[in-house]
Amino acid sequence: TQLLEQSPQFLSIQEGENLTVYCNSSSVFSSLQWYRQEPGEGPVLLVTVVTGGEVKKLKRLTFQFGDARKDSSLHITAAQPGDTGLYLCAGVSSGSARQLTFGSGTQLTVLP
């Protein structure tokens, strides 16, 4: 069974601070996706990283895929209250019909 561990599980910060969320596994994934989920809604895809070492930026969010494609990080610069939500990483396995293995999530709260 492939497992994805996210840390921290909970994070509460002040507006304007920077933060990093980590997603780690002992398994290799063909790609990795990050989702954000708001209360009462389903997760929404933010980004997919495919190549080991790849870095993608989405406004104030920076996503990195580890060189060995076993881990990933999400860095948010100058966090805003609108960034509040549950951040989920999900690994894509080419050999598995179910395709996506989700991490346990990081609940981020940005206080004004």
């Binding site: 989702y35 009462g40 997919t48 989920l88 179910r98 346990s104």
Partner: protein, 116 residues
């Protein structure tokens, strides 16, 4: 439709009753997934459909859980003799054949099931 639609959005049922949850995927999306999410936690895979066949149903937690799909459209997840531990949000997602490899899933808003 424009998005993945799930119904009902909320369901409160008595322990021991059967419930049926419905998912309408995006038109043209051949793959459909059911996940369960307990409060504040990640997503637990339940079952995957490709068309109307289910190549992977290994995530169904017990024989009280079953799911079916009509063609490449509506899917229903049925929970028989509900237990309190079944209380969770049940999420449905669909993806296109190329979407599964990198374009991501599109999720519905989920059905919040409460067993009392």
């Amino acid at each position: 439709g424009a998005g993945v639609s799930q119904s009902p959005s909320n369901k409160v049922t008595e322990k021991g009753k059967d419930v049926e949850l419905r998912c309408d995927p995006i038109s043209g999306h051949t793959a459909l997934y059911w996940y369960r999410q307990r409060l504040g936690q990640g997503l637990e895979f339940l079952i995957y459909f490709q068309g109307n066949s289910a190549p992977d149903k290994s995530g169904l937690p017990s024989d009280r859980f079953s799911a079916e799909r009509t063609g490449e459209s509506v899917s229903t997840l049925t929970i028989q003799r509900t237990q309190q531990e079944d209380s969770a949000v049940y999420l449905c997602a669909s993806s296109s054949p190329t979407g599964r490899r990198g374009g991501g899933y599109t999720f519905g808003s989920g059905t919040r099931l409460t067993v009392v």
